[in-house]
């Protein structure tokens, strides 16, 4: 399923899939006919209630992502290790503290799993997603996010576009900075659980910004992606 010109979601059929938690990832391994192997990690995009799915962004100089985005067709096979990760996970039946999600680019993928899980579980935990993308066309899951935002179940989604904004854009423009975080986040006194995912520089700037706004470092969980 194509999400954006560079991003595709693959729904996987895995024998004996043990189930996963929202936020976990898998390690994918590809083997070429001559035995050459390459391995990469991808976050699960699907809710635990659904079959495993990966959302992959094609990196220009990538070795695995171009294959997964452009080449793979249903019926093709590759190896998986996982699901992995008990740190960067959110369960809907956890304590009802507010949930703050901050995504940079393809860092939205594990956070989307969390939002899909939240919806599937019928959770009304107050939640906010602050999602930074380069352009409108590159916003992954754009329509589904609109639907989730419109459900009125306590979720609010805020977009910022860093490189170009379409005519009539009423959302934010520019990078996520302390001012935007202050405006959009739950205040620290509400003690939200925070998950930040995206490129390393994005994650570290956001985490620092949140700490400067009073959020305790122990309440902020981060996952750094490679790529841009």
């Amino acid at each position: 399923m194509t999400e954006t010109p560079r991003v595709r979601t693959l729904i996987l059929d895995v024998d004996g899939w043990p189930g996963h938690r929202a936020g976990q990832h898998v390690d994918v391994r590809l083997t070429a006919e001559d035995g050459y192997q390459a391995e990469r990690s991808y976050s699960l995009a699907s809710a635990p209630e659904d079959p495993p799915a990966l959302t992959v962004e094609r990196l220009d100089d990538g070795e695995v992502s171009p294959y997964l985005v452009d080449e793979v067709v249903p019926g093709d096979r590759f190896e998986l290790r996982g699901p992995v990760g008990g740190y960067f996970v959110w369960d809907a039946d956890a304590l009802p503290e507010p949930l703050l999600l901050v995504a940079g680019g393809s860092g939205v993928v594990p956070l989307m799993a969390m939002l899909r899980h939240r919806a599937a579980a019928g959770s009304t935990v107050p939640a906010k997603l602050l999602y930074s993308s380069r352009t409108y066309e590159e916003v992954i899951y754009r329509e589904e996010l609109e639907r989730l935002d419109g459900r009125g179940d306590g979720l609010e989604i805020v977009h910022t576009l860093t490189r170009a904004q379409p005519l009539g854009w009423t959302g934010h423009a520019g990078r996520v900075d302390v001012d935007l975080l202050r405006e959009v986040s739950f205040p620290a006194r509400r003690n939200p659980r925070v998950f930040v995912c995206g490129p390393t520089s994005f994650v570290e700037a956001v985490a620092e910004g949140l700490v400067s706004l009073g959020h305790r470092p122990g309440r902020i969980r981060t996952e750094r992606f490679g790529g841009t």
Partner: protein, 216 residues
Amino acid sequence: MPFDPAFRFNAACKTHTVGIISRGFRGRGRGDDSGRLPPGQYATDDFPVLSAGPTPHTPLDEWTFTIEGGAEPVRWTWDEFRTLPTETVTKDIHCVTKWSKFDTDWEGVSVDALLESVDHDRAYAVAFCDGGYTTNLPVEDLTGGKAWVAFAYDGEPLEPEHGGPARLLVPHLYFWKSAKWVRGLSLRDEDEPGFWETNGYHNYGDPWREQRYWGD
């Protein structure tokens, strides 16, 4: 947890090296007829940045290069180092992570020129660097026009992410021996494996004999 049941791969299965073949996956192009690619390598036009740690940023007025283990230590400041005769060389480089890059242009001071100032009869060297990285080489592989302390790449001052202000350049060996952010050589009678050599990588590292790991 081992790789998924449906297509099982388990690292404990020590000799099992072939996984499920993924139709149409080629990875990067490998092999070429020119004879310039060592076994198992692919040619790239990029210059990947790979590091074992954060990029150091030593100011030039604090930078020194030291050769120790001779009759007495010899040290150059950056200004002194830059008065030494330099060479411009064009070399193919080969990284153990399988990329090779042809015709890379460097400017640097040959290690032969540096060792002219040092009175020694040692057989081995350890290159030591900002950030703590080390790599070991026989002195013979640093001399005879085989190695430089390079401060410029492609006509420009060497960027920090590629090892600037200066890195070791030893193109006939895998590029982990071309230590970034080099600050000196420690000459000794006994070989002392360095950062990667103590944890699986081959002690010598000849790409043409594909000496990547211990025992290769």
